[in-house]
Every structure is written in structure tokens, then in C-alpha cells.
């Protein structure tokens, strides 16, 4: 007879000895925790039950258990939810029905140990040609973390689902392999925990803590740029985990090579596994995303409208969602169904005109920021490699985006000759053709220019 059966049979007999009211009050949510060496541990829901059992029913329960198992000599009662089934029912991400407009603290959804948000899963992750590769790598990792593609480095622009993918990997591993220890961190959190550890002289205990993790996920790793001490400590943690075949997953808005002020040894380690980029979703995928999101939010929009949004918002999944949110808010406020004309009016601000507006200043500023340089440095005469390349890119962008004339561009850069400008633009455009990574970099910079 196992524990559960013993307890069932105790309950079955006890109900003849006491009133139904007492039975319901005191025996609800009780169970046998263990039975060993003649000692039976019984879990009770609260201290009132505990006192009552110990003082009133102990003799009766002991007698019944003894008649079932002669070896039992003693019973102990423990309060607590040691095996309450309800605990395991994590709040389902969709079940919460509040007014959609009222925002909630996201931090509360987050699991305290893993830092993962259960909202992100593979079931609501839409796969298209633009993210097939990272998705396939992610799926492989969830099957056997640590043994394939280690580290996985995912990069791509804003709002394309990097965080979603990273968190979904974590959540899936929790589900499939519950004994793995997972930690999700933004690089900001990583930095602050290292800084705190240094302050409290507890860096060793922090390192030891990280070294026990089976899957370490660090989001937005590009923010480690320039933080030398953090990089050093992270390097050690990285090595320790890597040697033990623990899975490491990283994300960034650009490939490792393009992250400025990142130590060479870290760069080369990041490149040592699998690098996968998320590019922009194509038209069909955008349609699929919009349809799924509309279904999630419970708004009915015609195909015509969905197509309109998909055609006009091309570069950002988050913006697609934002557009739908606007429609849904409008529908709720006015109660009218939405037609194409209303959509066009509502989305006027989000959808940029085909002729994008930017300026000389914006381009210089963005390029400088992207490569972690000062604006003056780009405009100066320096022939250092790390400045020459950004300067050439800036000239290229001025030419392609603003259609500035070559002499104008030359003048802006401390009166350089127009031939210098021509040479730069040609060099960059050839490189874009040849080198896919480089093209991606340019694309990211362009995206930033138009996002500010």
C-alpha cells in the first residue's frame, strides 16, 4: 500500500467517527508526506489543523494506521503546502483578462530564479524566412542544451523578436528539462550584479553562483561595450561554463565583430559557436504575424486592412503590433467597425512616407554612436582604421540617403576633395555587395537613422 492509499483508507474510516462538519474542516488538504522507520509524516494546511490533529485525533489516526501497517509507531504533523497541487499550475499567460489598456508591472510576471517571463514561448513565435536559421538553432538547443551550437549568438534590429526567441528557449527548456538551471539576464543586469559584487567584495561567490548554471542567456550583449571589468568577469564566467559544456546564448543588435570596445578575446569566443541573424520579415510573414496578433487581441479586421498595414510597415514587428493596438483602441472607444479609410487616418503617424526624412547631423550622429566614436572624430583627418571605416560609411550614407553631391560631402569633412568622397562611396558599395555581414551593418545603421 502506498502513502496515498493509506491516507485514503484512514479518511474513509475516520468519517464514521466524527461529524461531517469536523471532517470537512480538519481533513481538507491533508495528505501523507512520507512513511519511514515507523514514523508517518502528515501534511496539514495550517497550524489550527495541526493543533487539532495532535490533540484530538492523533490517537484515532494512529490506531487506524497501525491496523493497516503494523510497523508504524508515531505520527507527526507538518504545516505547509509541501505538495499542494495548485502550486504547479503556473498562471497561464492568456488567462488574465483585464482591461487591455491598463499596463501592468512586467517584473511581477517574471520568475524570480530564472528571470524568464512565461509570456514568451515558441507557440506564439512566428517563423518565416527572416528568422528560420536562429529558430532552427534554438529548437536544436532546447533538445540538448550545451551540446550543439555553443554559444548561440543571435543578432538583429530593434523589435524583430530577439528577446522573444531567447526567452522562449529558456521557457521551453524549463518545460522539457525541469532539472536544468537557467538564468536570463540583460547585460545591464549582469553589469550591475558584477558592480555590486565588487562593492560588497563578493565577486567569488557571484562567480560560483553563475558557474552552477546550466543555461546562461544574456540579452543585448552590445551594452558590455566599454565596460572593461564586467567584460573581464564575464569572460571568466563564459570560459567556466563553456568548458563544462553548459549552454550560453547571447543576443545583440549587431554581429560580434561590429561591437565596438569589446575585447578581442570575447569577440572571438562569441564567434566560436553559431551566429544567426534575424533580418526583416517578408510580406507574407508580416501578414501571418498580423493575423496571429489580431486573433490574440480578439479584434476583427478585414484582410484588406491587414494587407495595408503589412505593405506599409516593413521593418519592425513591434510597430506592426502597435498599429493593431491603435485600431483596437479606436474600435473600443467608438464601437464602430474599422474600415480602410479609418485605418489610414489612424496610422498616418506610424507609417512613414516613402520619402524618409533625415539630415546630415542625424547621419553623422548615428554613425558615430554606432561605432562608439565622438562626432568630431568622424569629421576629423585621422587615418586610424577604426575611424576611417565609419567615416567612409557616413559619406556613403550621405550620398545614398540624402543625395548630397560629392563636392558637398567632401567640404563637410574638413574640405576633403570630391574624389575622396567618390572613392569612399564606391568602396562601401562594393563591400556591401561582397560582404553580407557588412551589408547587415549598414542596414542596421540605416534603421537607426530612421528610428530616431
Amino acid at each position: 500500500m502506498n502513502e496515498e492509499e493509506i491516507w485514503q483508507s484512514v479518511l474513509a474510516q475516520i468519517q464514521f467517527h466524527i461529524s461531517p462538519a469536523n471532517f470537512a474542516t480538519w481533513f481538507k488538504n491533508t495528505s501523507v508526506l512520507s512513511r519511514k522507520d515507523g514514523l508517518v509524516l502528515i501534511s496539514v494546511p495550517n497550524n489550527f489543523s495541526k493543533e487539532w490533529m495532535e490533540n484530538k485525533y492523533n490517537k484515532l489516526i494512529l490506531e487506524i494506521i497501525k491496523s493497516l501497517d503494523q510497523g508504524v509507531r508515531e505520527i507527526k504533523y507538518i504545516t505547509g503546502s509541501h505538495n499542494q497541487k495548485t502550486k504547479e499550475m503556473a498562471p497561464s499567460p492568456i488567462a488574465v483578462l483585464v482591461e487591455p489598456e491598463q499596463l501592468e508591472f512586467q517584473e511581477l510576471q517574471v520568475d524570480k530564479d530564472t528571470n524568464l517571463n512565461p509570456r514568451y514561448g515558441f507557440d506564439n513565435f512566428i517563423v518565416g524566412p527572416f528568422n528560420e536559421l536562429p529558430f532552427a538553432a534554438a529548437m536544436a538547443i532546447t533538445k540538448s542544451p550545451g551540446s550543439v551550437y555553443n554559444p548561440l549568438f543571435v543578432y538583429g534590429g530593434v523589435g524583430l523578436g530577439k528577446t522573444h526567441l531567447l526567452q522562449a528557449i529558456g521557457n521551453q527548456i524549463i518545460k522539457d528539462l525541469p532539472d536544468k538551471r537557467i538564468k536570463y539576464l540583460s547585460s545591464e543586469k549582469l553589469t550591475s550584479s558584477i558592480v555590486n559584487a565588487i562593492k560588497n567584495r563578493a565577486i567569488d561567490s557571484l562567480k560560483n553562483l553563475y558557474k552552477t548554471i546550466d543555461v546562461l542567456i544574456v540579452d543585448d550583449i552590445q551594452f558590455l561595450a566599454g565596460k572593461e571589468k564586467t567584460q573581464e568577469e564575464f569572460f571568466h564566467i563564459f570560459n567556466a561554463l563553456y568548458e563544462k559544456n553548459k549552454q550560453i546564448i547571447l543576443s545583440s543588435d549587431r554581429p560580434p565583430k561590429a561591437i565596438p570596445a569589446l575585447e578581442e578575446r570575447l569577440k572571438s569566443r562569441f564567434e566560436g559557436g553559431m551566429i544567426a541573424d534575424i533580418s526583416f520579415p517578408d510580406y507574407e510573414t508580416r501578414l501571418a504575424i498580423l493575423k496571429t496578433k489580431a486573433q490574440e487581441k480578439g479584434i476583427s479586421v478585414s484582410d484588406e486592412i491587414i494587407e495595408y498595414i503589412a505593405v506599409n510597415i516593413q521593418r519592425n514587428v513591434r510597430e506592426l503590433e502597435g498599429a493593431l493596438n491603435r485600431l483596437s483602441a479606436h474600435q473600443k472607444m467608438t464601437g464602430k467597425t474599422i474600415n480602410l479609410a479609418i485605418t489610414q487616418a489612424l496610422l498616418k503617424n506610424i507609417i512613414k512616407n516613402p520619402t524618409k526624412i533625415t539630415s546630415f547631423k542625424k547621419i553623422i550622429k548615428t554613425v558615430a554612436e554606432f561605432y562608439d566614436l565622438k562626432e568630431e572624430e568622424i569629421l576629423c583627418d585621422s587615418r586610424k582604421k577604426e575611424i576611417v571605416k565609419p567615416r567612409q560609411i557616413a559619406m556613403f550614407l550621405l550620398r545614398t540617403e540624402l543625395k548630397n553631391s560629392f563636392p558637398f560631402i567632401g567640404r563637410k569633412f574638413r574640405g576633403k576633395d570630391h574624389t575622396t568622397a567618390i572613392y569612399s562611396c564606391n568602396k562601401v558599395s562594393i563591400e556591401v555587395e561582397k560582404n553580407e555581414n557588412f551589408a547587415g551593418e549598414i542596414e542596421l545603421i540605416k534603421q537607426r537613422i530612421y528610428n530616431i
Partner: protein, 375 residues
């Protein structure tokens, strides 16, 4: 049992213990108060199996004994007694109440059936003054989540540190934190924390707000006891014992932003009035909009409803940082503001979809965080 006692003491004691007595159909004995005479004290106890309240009255005991009596009935009866001295006597499961020539007899139930009130280890304890403690509790109590889906945020989080107690409550839309400072060490061991059910906290405020003595708090893994002393002799007067909520409280400190985009200083009363005026036009969603105007040095408060009309008001204030347009549920703003006593308050914004913080100026111990409504 036979005791003689003062009516006022009896009345006060009953009024305190009867609060948690409800209509319990499952276990009718929970509707009763346990009356027990022991040595020089008459003890009154009630419980709903989550909270228990015990109260002691100094009495002249002629014979010890105990019985349970329907609490509401006894309390109503005592309210009508005008004499000073009462004699209580038990005869065969009947409580006889005698004052001068009047005699009442109430049928009781055996004390054997009454739940045993759990004992608590006296290992971990701290002492707090009842007035600041109850005021602090009252400032956060309304923000516990009302849902049982996530039991850990349905109560008040107590975090006891070296020289202070932090109280926090959140319902996932807003969060209130109150820090009670002691200026001296209150606990020897490391930090301790527990989650107190909201209902127990309400009882504490009801019972202890009036007194100005020290409350002793004893806590263990799953229980807590608040004890208030008798002034005349060294004996507890009231004990409130409650279960604690099982679970880990979220790391709420992370919710409170440390950097802000826009920092506003406003007169509290005027701000509150403007919000109340705007609320009349806010419609079903309770939405009002706050719009900064740095050039005019003030904020606009806007609300509109197609059926009623609209509100547009301006109030001058100090602003630093970026311009902001942000919408709130007006109820959430009012709930936070009414817990602040200062003349001026800080309204700190972090973008139109980021958490906003309200703080009374000159009182760093209270922080209220509220999430806006999505545009």
C-alpha cells in the same frame, strides 16, 4: 466558573474579538467566543481558522472554568447593560450573566469543541510603536491584489532589516512601499521577511490604532503573532495570531524606477481636486490624461467622454526633463495621493508606457508607483 468584572472592560474586549466572527455554517462553533477564567484573568478568544484574536481582562475569579458562547449575541447584550459590575457564572453549559437584579442565561457549547489556538515560538521578535506601525500599514493595505491566482501578492510584504521595516503591497498595476524607521537596531539576526494576509492587517489597524503602547511581533515560518500589553500588570492584553502566506514575494524593488524622464513638483490638494474634476468626464475607462507644458511651466489635465463632455484644466508647477503626455486611471492616482500627508508631491514619469512614481516631498519613507494606460 464564576467571575466578577467591570462592564466596560468586558464590552471593549468583546468588541475586539467579535470582529472576525462571521457566519460559519460548516463549523458553528466558530461563531462563538471562548470565555475562560484562569487565575486573575478572563480570557476571550475567537478564530476563523486563519486569524485568532485573544483578549484578557483583569477580573475577580471565584471559580475557574470555561465555555463558548455565541459572540454576536453576547456582545449585543453587553451593550445594553448599564451597571458597572457584572457577574458571570457557568451552570451546565449555560452562561449566566447577572448585574443587580437582572439575570440573562445564554446556552453555550462545550469549550472542548473550540479550535485550539496555535502556539508560536517566541524566538524571533521585534517591538514597534503601535501608532506609526498602524499608520504605515494603512498606507499600503489598499494595494494588495484581490485575486487568489497569485496568493503571494494578495498580502502585505514585511521585510525586517537591521533598523527598519519595509512594508510593500502591489496588485500588479500599482505598488506602495512604506519604510518604518527606528533609528536603532531592532533585530539581531539577519533580515527576515514574511507575507501577512490583507485581512489580518485590517484587523491589526482596527485593534491597535487607538493604543500608544509597544506591539511585540513574533514570527515563525508560517505564523505571526502581534501582542499588545496590559498597562496595569505584566500580561498581554491582546494577541492577534495569523497564518502567513506561503510563497516568495516578487523582488518589488526592481519595479521602482531609479531614473526618470520628467520630474514634476505639484501642490497636492490642488492636484487632487483637478484630478477629481477631470474624473467626472473620464467615462468607463477611468482614463485621464496629463500633459506637461514646460514653456508655460505647468501641466494640463484632460479627459473626455463623447456622452458627457470634456475637461481641460491647467495647473502651474515645476517641471524638469522631457515633455510628456501620459494617461492614467484616475482612481489609481487618487488612491496614492490620499495616502500622502505633505503639501507638495513629486510626480516622476518615465515615458508614456513606463511606471510613474508619486512621492510626498519631505517624506522619503513613502513611495507609490503606478502604471499608465496604454495609448
Amino acid at each position: 466558573m464564576k467571575v466578577i468584572l467591570l462592564k466596560d472592560n468586558f464590552k471593549k474586549g468583546l468588541s475586539i474579538v467579535e470582529k472576525i466572527v462571521g457566519k460559519n455554517l460548516n463549523l458553528p462553533i466558530l461563531n462563538n467566543v471562548l470565555i475562560a477564567a484562569e487565575k486573575n484573568f478572563l480570557g476571550l478568544s475567537t478564530t476563523d481558522l486563519e486569524i485568532a484574536i485573544r483578549y484578557w481582562i483583569l477580573v475577580k475569579t471565584e471559580e475557574e472554568g470555561k465555555i463558548t458562547i455565541p459572540a454576536k449575541l453576547l456582545s449585543s447584550l453587553v451593550n445594553f447593560i448599564s451597571d458597572e459590575k457584572i457577574t458571570l457564572e457557568i451552570k451546565n453549559q449555560i452562561l449566566q450573566i447577572q448585574h443587580k437584579e437582572n439575570i440573562n442565561q445564554i446556552n453555550g457549547l462545550s469549550s472542548e469543541e473550540f479550535p485550539i489556538i496555535p502556539k508560536i515560538e517566541r524566538k524571533n521578535s521585534i517591538e514597534v510603536n503601535s501608532i506609526p506601525f498602524c499608520q504605515g500599514l494603512a498606507q499600503v493595505i489598499d494595494f494588495c491584489a484581490q485575486t487568489q491566482i497569485r496568493p503571494e501578492i494578495s498580502g502585505i510584504y514585511f521585510n525586517i532589516q537591521k533598523d527598519k521595516i519595509s512594508l510593500a503591497a502591489t496588485d500588479s498595476f500599482r505598488l506602495a512601499e512604506k519604510i518604518i524607521l527606528f533609528g536603532k537596531q531592532i533585530i539581531e539576526n539577519q533580515e527576515s521577511s514574511f507575507i501577512l494576509p490583507q485581512k489580518a492587517a485590517r484587523e491589526l489597524i482596527n485593534i491597535f490604532s487607538a493604543g500608544d503602547q509597544k506591539i511585540k511581533i513574533f514570527f515563525s515560518n508560517n505564523q505571526v503573532m502581534f501582542e499588545y500589553p496590559l498597562t496595569e500588570v505584566d500580561h498581554p492584553q491582546v494577541q492577534v495570531i495569523s497564518r502567513l502566506i506561503d510563497g516568495q514575494y516578487p523582488n518589488y524593488i526592481e519595479i521602482i524606477p531609479t531614473k526618470y524622464e520628467t520630474e514634476i513638483v505639484v501642490q497636492k490638494e490642488e492636484f487632487l481636486n483637478q484630478i477629481k474634476a477631470a474624473s467626472l468626464f473620464s467615462g468607463k475607462t477611468n482614463e485621464i490624461q496629463i500633459k506637461t507644458n514646460i514653456k508655460k511651466e505647468g501641466i494640463e489635465i484632460l479627459s473626455q467622454n463623447t456622452d458627457i463632455g470634456e475637461n481641460k484644466s491647467f495647473m502651474p508647477c515645476k517641471i524638469e526633463g522631457k515633455e510628456a503626455v501620459i494617461s492614467f486611471n484616475y482612481r489609481f492616482l487618487i488612491d496614492g495621493l490620499i495616502n500622502m500627508k505633505s503639501q507638495e508631491i513629486n510626480l516622476l514619469l518615465s515615458g508614456e508606457e513606463g511606471p510613474a512614481v508619486l512621492k510626498p516631498i519631505g517624506d522619503a519613507t513613502y513611495t507609490y508607483v503606478v502604471m499608465p494606460i496604454k495609448k
